[in-house]
C-alpha cells in the first residue's frame, strides 16, 4: 500500500500543532484561542491516523473518533462559556477579562 510517508504526515502535524500553540499564546480573543485549541487537537488526531496507517492498525482511527468526541464536548462547553462571557462583559478580550487573580 503506497501512501503518504509517515515523516511527511508528522511534519504536517508538527506545523499544525505549532500553529495552534502560537495562536493560543498570541491571540487575545477568546473565540480564536478556542479555535487554536481545536487545531492542536486535530493535529494530534492526524498524527494518530497517520501512525495507524503506517503500522496497519485500526487503533489510530479509533483514537481519532475518541478525539473527535472529546473535541465536540469541549467545544460545546467552551462555546457556551464564551456566549455567557460575551453577554456579561460585552467583550472577548482575555486581557480585559483577567479578573480572577489569585
Amino acid at each position: 500500500m503506497i501512501g503518504v510517508p509517515l515523516d511527511h504526515a508528522m511534519i504536517l502535524c508538527g506545523i499544525l500543532f505549532s500553529l495552534g500553540l502560537l495562536g493560543l499564546m498570541l491571540r487575545r480573543t477568546l473565540i480564536f484561542m478556542l479555535m487554536s485549541l481545536e487545531i492542536m487537537l486535530n493535529s494530534t488526531a492526524v498524527a494518530f491516523v497517520a501512525a495507524g496507517s503506517r503500522w496497519l492498525q485500526p487503533d489510530g482511527q479509533i483514537m481519532f473518533v475518541l478525539i473527535l468526541t472529546l473535541a465536540a464536548a469541549e467545544v460545546t462547553v467552551g462555546l457556551a462559556l464564551v456566549l455567557q462571557i460575551h453577554q456579561r462583559f460585552k467583550t472577548l478580550d482575555v486581557e480585559v477579562l483577567s479578573q480572577m487573580k489569585g
Binding site: 493560543l24 499564546m25 491571540r27 477579562l97 483577567s98 479578573q99 480572577m100 487573580k101
Partner: protein, 614 residues
C-alpha cells in the same frame, strides 16, 4: 481460675474509666462503691488466684497468660503477657490487700471533698498501673506500669491543685523521678541492644550465658536499672521528692508513698536480681545506697515537725533497709520487709490521717500533745504501727528487719550490718519522739473531733492485726529468688538480742529527751553553734534541695535568661519565613491572565520533554 488473672487489673481499670467519665455526676456513695468496690473485687480475685496458685503447684512455678502480641516489627515482637509467680503474687497481695483497706479508709477520709469521684478515679488508675507493673512479663510493660504509677502519683500529689505549693510538689515528684526513669529507659535500650529481648525470663536466662561476672556491660546495665529504682524508691541521690509528696491527701501517702509505689524499685531489683548478681560492684552500690539513705533519712526524721514528713523520712529509711538487704543478696528478706513495711507504714499513715482530721488539718506535732486520752483508738493503732516499725519482738517488723540484719551479718557484709543497727537506733528514737510529743505530754487545748465510723476504724484495726501478725505469712519466693547460703545459724539469737537492745535504747533516749526532760533537748539543740548548725542541716534534709537548686535549677534558669531569644529557634523560625516568601512568589504567578498560563504551561512541557530527552 488462673486464666482470670487479667481481670485483676481490669477491675481497677474499669473503675477508673467509670469514675473518670462520670466526673462530677456521681454522688459520694456510688463513687465510693465503684472506687472501693473495684479494688475489693480485685482483692477477692487475688485471694482466689493465690489459693489456686499455691494449692496446685505448676511445672515451673509460674503461670503466663498471653493476651496478644503488641506489635511485630522486624523481629521485635513484644508479647502482651502477664506472668504470675511467687514474687508477683506477693506484690499482688500487698497492692490489693493493703490497697483495699486504704481505699476503704479514704472513702471516710475524703468525705465532703468537692472532687470525691476524681480522687477515686486517680486511685483506681494508680492501682491498675501498679498491678500492670508487677504482672508484666516484659520489661517494656513493666516500664509502662512504672510510668503509669508515676503519672497517678503526680495527679494525686497535686490533687488539691488550688494551692500552688501542691502543684509545685507534684511537678517536683514527677520531674525528679523522671531523671531515674531516663536512666532506666537507657538501661532497657542497652539490654535490648545486647541481648535482643526484653522478656524478663529470657533476659535472666541469656544474661549469665553472654556476660561474664563483673563484665562492664553487666555493670552498666545494672547501674542504670539501679538509677531507675533509686528515683522511684526515693533513695539517695534522688530522694528529695518524697517529703514534698506529702502535700497529697493522707491516704495517697499511705498507698503510693509508703506501701506500694515507692517499693517498686525494690521489686525491680529483686525481679532482675540475676543482672545484679553478675555485677558485684552494682550490687555493692545497691547496699550502700540503702545504708546511707537509711541513716541520713533517720537523722532528718529526728528534726521534722510535720507528722507526715516524719513518716515520709521514715519510709525513705525503711526502703533503705530493703536496698541494704538487696545489696547483701538477701532478696527474699527485702521482699519480706517490703510486705511488712506496707502493713505497718500504711497503718501509721492512716492513723496519722485520723489524727490530722481529728485536729482539723493540724499536722505540726508540737501543736498536738496529750492526744492519748482524747483519741485512744487512734493512739493504740499508731502505737502498734510504731512498735512494728521499731521491730519490737512479736511484731511483723521484727521478723523482717532482723532477718535482714542477720543475713547481712551472716553474708559477711559487716559494715552494712552496723549501718542497719545504727538505723534501728535512729528508728526507735524518731518514732518515739513523735509519739511522746504528739500523744503524751500537755494538751494544747485543741478542739478534738473524735473520728468514728466503721469505714474509719475497720481498716485501722485490720492493718494493726497485720502489722503484728504479718510476719507469720510464709512467702512463696523460693522458686523465684535464690536464698543466700548461710553456713550456720549460730549467733542469730545473740544478734536479735542486740538489735532489740539497741531499739530499746532508742526508745529510752526518746523518753528521756522528749518526754521527761524536753527543756534539756531544746537546750542541747540550740545550745551552741555546732549543734545548731547540725539541727538546721538535718531539718533541711542535709541540704539536698539547696544543693540541687544551686547545681541544676539556678544554672538552668540562668541559661534560660541568657538564651532568652532562643538561638536554636532562629533556625526553626527561618522555615516559615522561607515558605512565606515562596508563597508570595507563587501567588504572583497566578495573575488571571489566560495567555500567561498557556505560555507557562508550554514552557513547563518543553522543560519536561527536554529533561526526558536529554
Amino acid at each position: 481460675m488462673l486464666d482470670l488473672l487479667f481481670l485483676v487489673f481490669m477491675f481497677p481499670l474499669a473503675g477508673f474509666v467509670i469514675l473518670a467519665f462520670a466526673r462530677g455526676r456521681l454522688q459520694e456513695t456510688p463513687a465510693a462503691i465503684v472506687g472501693v468496690g473495684s479494688i475489693g473485687l480485685s482483692a477477692l480475685l487475688t485471694l482466689l488466684i493465690g489459693y489456686e496458685f499455691l494449692s496446685t503447684p505448676l511445672e515451673d512455678h509460674a503461670y503466663t497468660q498471653l493476651l496478644w502480641t503488641w506489635m511485630s516489627v522486624d523481629g521485635f515482637a513484644p508479647q502482651f503477657a502477664l506472668r504470675l509467680d511467687g514474687l508477683s503474687l506477693v506484690m499482688l497481695g500487698v497492692i490489693n490487700g493493703v490497697g483495699f483497706f486504704i481505699h476503704l479508709f479514704a472513702s471516710w477520709y475524703m468525705r465532703g471533698d468537692d472532687s470525691y469521684d476524681r480522687f477515686f478515679s486517680y486511685m483506681n488508675l494508680f492501682v491498675a498501673s501498679m498491678l500492670f507493673l508487677v504482672l508484666g512479663d516484659n520489661l517494656l510493660f513493666l516500664y509502662f506500669g512504672w510510668e503509669g504509677v508515676g503519672l497517678s502519683s503526680y495527679l494525686l500529689i497535686g490533687f488539691w491543685y488550688k494551692d500552688p505549693a501542691n502543684g509545685a510538689a507534684a511537678r517536683k515528684a514527677f520531674i525528679v523521678t523522671r531523671v531515674g526513669d531516663t536512666f532506666m529507659a537507657v538501661g532497657l535500650f542497652i539490654l535490648y541492644h545486647e541481648l535482643g529481648t526484653l522478656n524478663i525470663q529470657d533476659l535472666m536466662m541469656l544474661a549469665p550465658q553472654q556476660w561474664a561476672v563483673g563484665s562492664d556491660i553487666a555493670t552498666i546495665a545494672a547501674l542504670l536499672l539501679l538509677g531507675g529504682a533509686v528515683g522511684k524508691s526515693a533513695q539517695l541521690p534522688l530522694q528529695t521528692w518524697l517529703p514534698d509528696a506529702m502535700a497529697g491527701p493522707t491516704p495517697v501517702s499511705a498507698l503510693i508513698h509508703a506501701a506500694t509505689m515507692v517499693t517498686a524499685g525494690v521489686y525491680l531489683i529483686a525481679r532482675t536480681h540475676v543482672l545484679f548478681e553478675l555485677s558485684p560492684f552494682a550490687l555493692n552500690c545497691v547496699g550502700w545506697v540503702g545504708a546511707i539513705t537509711l541513716l541520713m533519712a533517720g537523722f532528718t526524721a529526728l528534726t521534722q515537725t510535720d507528722i507526715k514528713r516524719v513518716l515520709a523520712y521514715s519510709t525513705m529509711s525503711q526502703i533503705g533497709y530493703m536496698f541494704l538487704a538487696l545489696g547483701a543478696g538477701a532478696w527474699g528478706a527485702a521482699v519480706f520487709h517490703l510486705m511488712t513495711h506496707a502493713f505497718f507504714k500504711a497503718l501509721l499513715f492512716l492513723s496519722a490521717g485520723s489524727v490530722i482530721l481529728a485536729l482539723h488539718h493540724e499536722q505540726d506535732i508540737f501543736k498536738m500533745g496529750g492526744l492519748r486520752k482524747q483519741i485512744p483508738f487512734t493512739f493504740w493503732v499508731f502505737l502498734i504501727g510504731s512498735l512494728a516499725l521499731i521491730a519490737t519482738p512479736g511484731t511483723s517488723g521484727f521478723a523482717s528487719k532482723d532477718e535482714i540484719l542477720w543475713l547481712a551479718w551472716a553474708g559477711g557484709h559487716h559494715d552494712l550490718f552496723y549501718a542497719g543497727l545504727a538505723g534501728a537506733f535512729m528508728t526507735a528514737l524518731y518514732t518515739f519522739r513523735l509519739i511522746f510529743i504528739a500523744f503524751f505530754g500537755q494538751s494544747h487545748g485543741h478542739e478534738v473531733h473524735v473520728p468514728h465510723g466503721l469505714d474509719h476504724s475497720l481498716p485501722l484495726a485490720v492493718l494493726a492485726v497485720f502489722a503484728v501478725l504479718g510476719g507469720l505469712i510464709p512467702l512463696p519466693l523460693e522458686s523465684v529468688l535464690p536464698h543466700p547460703h548461710i553456713a550456720s545459724e549460730d549467733g542469730k539469737h545473740a544478734l536479735e538480742a542486740i538489735s532489740v537492745l539497741v531499739s530499746a535504747a532508742g526508745v529510752a533516749v526518746a523518753w528521756f529527751f522528749f518526754h521527761k526532760n524536753r527543756a534539756l533537748a531544746e537546750k542541747l539543740a540550740r545550745g551552741n553553734l555546732i549543734s545548731d548548725a547540725l539541727c538546721r542541716l538535718w531539718s533541711s534534709a542535709w541540704g539536698f534541695d539547696w544543693l540541687y537548686d544551686r547545681i541544676f535549677v539556678r544554672p538552668y534558669l540562668w541559661f534560660i535568661r541568657v538564651n532568652g531569644h532562643d538561638f536554636v529557634e532562629s533556625f526553626v523560625a527561618a522555615v516559615p519565613v522561607a515558605f512565606q516568601r515562596l508563597h508570595a512568589a507563587a501567588a504572583q504567578s497566578q495573575n488571571g491572565r489566560t495567555r500567561w498560563y498557556a505560555v507557562s504551561m508550554v514552557a513547563g512541557a518543553i522543560l519536561m520533554i527536554a529533561m526526558v530527552l536529554l
